[in-house]
Symmetry: C2
Subunit: 392 residues, 2 copies
DNA sequence: GAGCCGCACTAATGCGGTTCAGTACGAGGG
DNA sequence: CCCTCGTACTGAACCGCATTAGTGCGGCTC
């Protein structure tokens, strides 16, 4: 049958097309298309027969053909703009991606994931994906205080959802009355049908961000951390923040200031310093702070890696934790549980956040308005790295 | 021009097609296609003109259309089969992916990245991707000792490269003479042209694995670790391995046995135990080993997370490292540098490994034979966690 | 019983590229 | 001068699916 030399490379089985199904089922190709897409125009009998044949043949729609005719790529994109060297110790992204895919794979939508060097490359990639019709929409992560991406995406008309931040820093921050919607403002229109966008009139267009947004309430999270530390008696607390350009860094810094003021804490003793999220800068900042005349009694790190690095600096100097220094990590991971002592951490449901973001993007793709929805509140998992200041 | 309500959702610019280019350049669509794809049949003049117009219009080929006619999806896939809870602390995958994409983005190939629960889901996904023609090939990670994937992929005819392991555990392991090819066995045929597969005859089909493979020489790596520890004087060394089902775990365990025998070490004192890679099992194994009557003086952990967890157990018990216990981590990361003492680690060039894998897969896609190529040898970065046994 | 309607289905078209079979034309050879 | 050949280009078919515009037919109406 096959020549000996070919044995190792089996002739790939030909993938079935609707034509094959049509032939086997004895109907036209269009009937098959109707049957498989739940469209009217075929009898229950025929529909069932076609379905059965498709099943037998293991047919799956050719994604390219579907994209070409259906105007839908069947894929979404996520770009991570980080220099390779700072990649990967955080568990955040893989967890986020896993949550996103839980939602997408149920609808058979693929995720294009790409790591690039910087924001410019990310923007260039969006343009290319758009021009190539590679994706139907994108998830934007690491929103910045000055972010060119919402503008770009809006001008391209590429649906998007901003993950972890409000789209425009101040205007769309939690409204003055403290409420942020977590449910649709207007009933979502029937999916896929919106022939007359003018229908609901101007009243249906309240001030809304350029892009859909899912966000976490960093202010409340910071309040919880301060409650914990302040309650233990700490009065000198430093927040070792991440990259200053990121929107959530700015939010956390603002929150710290606000929450400190609410508790009557001196802003010279309760403040933030920024880093690049790396263990090196986290350790360096810790050293600098501990060298001060009146060092802080508690440190809040913006990620787990820096927290562990900080704990290690303390250990190296023989500073007892939590006896002389309390440590909190913003974001939990295995890291926080393997150190000695184990670190008190702010636990977030990151896969859940990913699911939320995916749902939101799908809603936008279905013609919904760009909404701003809020993720679950994180909780503080108190472990051994926090205690009253000055205790043994 | 636009109704007020529409302002926020600008009408997306229409993406240009070759038809637009053809009109502007005053030639036929086919001429445009020839010009843009470096095919003969157009003059230098026309080619340049078409190129210029395409540039002006910001044209990019519609990936769906190209996939449909060209029989190339322009995308590769990578599936990570891990339960969500064990995800993410290791930096390995993001770094691997970043290396892969360095190569792919230069050729404008996208990467579909998906996280699934288990191997079955992974296989199902391969089938679907194949049937949908979503991807031109896949990168298979975490190869197992009993792995259904090479068979499946071969039967589907879906090009693939196995990352980090030899495809079939024994047969294709480093040849008895110790040599493994790192260059093509036969000159690669001119890309894209292989009309008569029967051409070279049976002689051109030496025993080769089912799939192309890139691998790291775990045996040599293990030898380096043992050189280091044995040289320091250690005689009781335990290797805390990862999941027993993974191919590289098996290889490392075998290597340890071989290398120990070569050095005349007692296999009761130099041995491996397996875990699930988690910090919890790493810590648990460490406790058990340290509880023994004659505990090991050195521990080699198969990943950084377990190593840190182990170090933490030692710290918790007041066991000085490296005074009473030396620790080596297989795989370096920020983790190994933030602990106190910093951990001696086996450093691999993971992005480089990713680049290698991507190149290999592209070679297969270009019609090359499935080869087995070897990544760069890792080196042991000696830090403070290893020293002579019994020293203070 | 002619007209009409709705159902089940088929034929034809298009999505945006690639590719193959022609065609027009100028140069070169006998 | 006719024929061939190569170059530069055009027209049309095709990839696999979705969709729209028919078509045939049985049943209902009046």
């Amino acid at each position: 049958m096959t020549a000996p030399g070919e044995a190792a490379r089996p002739r790939p089985a030909r993938r079935p097309t609707i034509k094959d199904i049509a032939r086997r089922a004895g109907v036209s190709e269009s009937a098959v298309s109707f049957a498989l897409n739940d469209r009217p125009g075929v009898s229950q009998d025929t529909r069932a027969r076609v379905r059965r044949v498709a099943e037998e043949l293991g047919w799956q729609a050719n994604s390219a053909a579907r994209a070409l005719s259906g105007e839908r790529a069947g894929a979404l994109g996520l770009v991570l703009a980080r220099p390779a060297r700072t990649l990967g110790v955080e568990s955040f992204f893989l967890q986020l991606v896993s949550g996103i895919q839980e939602v997408l794979s149920a609808r058979n939508i693929a995720l294009l994931f790409q790591v690039v060097e910087d924001l410019d490359a990310e923007c260039a990639l969006y343009r290319r994906w758009w021009a190539e019709r590679r994706v139907d929409g994108v998830l934007v992560v690491d929103p910045r205080t000055e972010d060119p991406r919402p503008q770009l995406l809006a001008s391209l008309g590429l649906p998007a959802v901003v993950v972890g931040g409000t789209a425009t820093p101040e205007r769309d921050a939690p409204a003055p009355d403290g409420r942020t919607e977590s449910a649709p403002k207007t009933a979502a229109p029937a999916p896929g049908t919106a022939p007359h966008p003018a229908a609901p009139g101007p009243a249906a267009t309240p001030p809304h961000p350029l892009l859909a947004t899912v966000w976490a309430d960093d202010a409340k999270a910071m309040a919880r951390i301060l409650d914990h530390l302040h309650g233990l008696g700490h009065r000198r607390i430093v927040h070792i923040a991440g990259l200053p350009g990121l929107a959530h860094t700015a939010r956390r810094i603002r929150s710290l200031r606000t929450e400190a003021a609410l508790r009557g804490l001196d802003h010279r003793h309760v403040r933030s310093v920024t880093t690049d999220y790396s263990d090196a800068e986290g350790a360096e900042a810790t050293r600098r702070l501990l060298d001060a005349a009146k060092p802080p009694t508690a440190l809040v790190y913006d990620n787990d890696v820096m927290a562990v690095a900080g704990a290690s600096v303390a250990a190296g100097r023989g500073i007892p934790v939590p006896g002389a220094l309390s440590i909190v990590a913003w974001d939990d991971s295995a890291l926080c549980r393997v150190t000695h002592p184990r670190l008190t951490a702010l636990v977030r449901d990151t896969p859940g956040f990913g699911r939320l973001a995916a749902h939101e993007l799908l809603a936008v793709l279905d013609g919904g308005p760009p909404r701003t929805v809020q993720g679950e509140l994180p909780h503080l998992e108190a472990r051994e790295s926090t205690g009253p200041p000055g205790a043994p």
